[in-house]
Symmetry: C2
Subunit: 318 residues, 2 copies
DNA sequence: CTGAAAGCGCTAACAG
DNA sequence: CTGTTAGCGCTTTCAG
């Protein structure tokens, strides 16, 4: 049999008689033959690699998105190639360049903010490009995510409705974490519309998020102990803060309310359930992967997921 | 200038005059040219992809290993391609096959237990193969990890030295999590040598690990409330158990001792620091990547890291 | 320092 | 259903 027949059998394309198919299978297995996809990719201009670019793997949000995406991609015979940018636009550009050199079947990357060169590369890629996590801005092609501004605003509204007024924000100190920034902006905008100004802010970087949540909470409460609500930019620091408050015996949510963000399942194991909003990370991973699997570049698909407030036990009932 | 000259400039190989180099750079940038690595890989039989195969991304251990590996690989111009097996040998084999089809520059994969077909493929790969996390067994080529049996044994010895005798083990219900199994085996062996039998066992699967830690602890203590030590197979369920115990007002570590495994930095934010042993995940990722970067297939390199007990505040001082 | 020729191992597109 | 013929876009090798 010719190499061509072998190729047809291994790819499951074209009509091949059952007899030759069996012979091919037997032979390839006996020889331990693994077809060379590099040659295959070059010949067919079709590649099963999908670039997935995330800022970090330290924040559980991204491994979860990646897991969900990976499941859908695998089912379609595609493979993720992961790149980590560390929230650094320069690194994002380099990683993207390196990945596009493999002519992937699609690109999934976090955020809507990218350098000019990155945008140019993505527009020229000719494959589905899905920007994930965020929908507040212009997408290059497809986008799947949530509106962080709206999420921040809705939480602010819920807090105000519950009667809290002396409110602080605790978050990460990362100039390029645009989504955290947008949550805070949406949050402040709604407070401002109600004539309420933020009564405190605290930012951290590095280290154990749980411990930092604890420290920041102590710091912000030490500075001004009449605060009645603390909004954390993620659930892990929120959990740390909650544990600190419980240790202090603060009355929650009567005296002090708390909320985080992400909807991590960590929440379920805390002594008191922290209020949060789901980041929809599994749906985002799945939907983004589906768009890539569909394979239509320039679809402009836009999926906005609407996370709801999970009030838990750390916000007073209005 | 010929395509050849362009190739030389872009790869930084061979002597090219400064003038032509500049012209090439300008032209490629103007055209947004991204060289095709598929063609390059086929022509040169050299590829910058490294297969990294892990059982899961839900357990923070693996994203951390991946992050550390990714840093070292990136610095050497290599890219990780991630595969997730879900602790399933069949999936491991398929993922491995798919990755080897790309003729990667190296393979990093978790564990020493693999199916016969997987082992054959790895032996035939002709590139560095690094089995990570575990050193209790035969490696195909290189291995970087810790001895889980020893880790389990050392913890058992520490517990016995502290005077605890009615000891339970709480872990995950995963037949293919060989490392958790080895920790438990090492643990039981040392207990047995001292004439102590496990006084309880509890296993879980799925769901929020923190919440499961809570539930399992409640279950095991409900079944037999004279237990004086609980050994958890990971820090997250350990943290859940610790929070449950603190909520119950149990005297820790006087009445009840606790320990986890992993050395996650989650530990730092708990009200009481849980005893644990470092899984050395960053070192493992770094060392494994270094071996791949060195590029010597069949080196048989073996790096055994020696995690130490971090006693925290949940084991009595002997 | 620069160029020309000859593939790398497959698959698309035709022929039989 | 099976085989043949051309490349895919680079890099290797060898000449200038």
């Amino acid at each position: 049999m010719s190499e061509m027949t072998v190729s047809r059998v291994l790819r499951g394309r074209g009509e091949v008689s059952e007899a030759t198919r069996a012979r091919v299978i037997a032979a390839t297995r006996r020889l331990g033959y693994v077809p060379n996809r590099i040659a295959g990719g070059l010949a067919s201009a079709r590649v099963n690699l999908v670039a997935v670019i995330v800022p970090s793997l330290a924040n559980m949000i991204f491994p979860e998105v990646l897991t969900a995406a990976s499941e859908v991609l695998e089912a379609a015979g595609l493979q993720p190639v992961v790149g980590v940018t560390g929230y650094d636009p320069g690194r994002e550009e380099r990683v993207l360049y390196d990945m596009l050199a493999w002519r992937p079947a699609g690109v999934i990357l976090a955020g809507l903010e990218h350098g000019a060169a990155a945008r140019a590369m993505l527009r020229a890629a000719g494959v589905p490009v899905v920007e994930i996590m965020d929908v507040d801005g212009e997408a290059i092609d497809a986008a799947v995510g949530i509106s962080h501004r709206r999420v921040g605003g809705e939480l602010a509204a819920a807090i105000l409705a519950a009667g809290y007024r002396r409110i602080a924000f605790l978050g990460t100190l990362m100039p390029f974490d645009h989504r955290a920034r947008k949550r805070m902006e949406g949050f402040e905008a709604v407070l401002a519309a109600a004539g309420v100004a933020l009564a405190g802010r605290e930012f951290y970087s590095g280290g154990s998020a749980l411990a930092k949540g604890r420290e920041m909470t102590e710091a912000v409460m030490g500075r001004r102990d009449d605060l009645d609500f603390l909004y954390y930019s993620n659930d892990v620091i929120g959990a740390g803060g909650l544990l600190w408050c419980l240790g202090r015996g603060l009355a929650i949510p009567a005296r002090l309310g708390l909320a985080g963000f992400g909807g991590l399942d960590l929440i379920d194991g805390l002594p008191v359930r922290l209020a949060t909003m789901d980041a929809c990370r599994r749906e985002i991973g799945r939907e983004a992967a589906r768009i890539v699997v569909a394979g239509r570049a320039g679809s402009g698909a836009r999926v906005e997921l609407a996370p709801v407030l999970i009030p838990g036990e750390t916000i007073r009932r209005p």
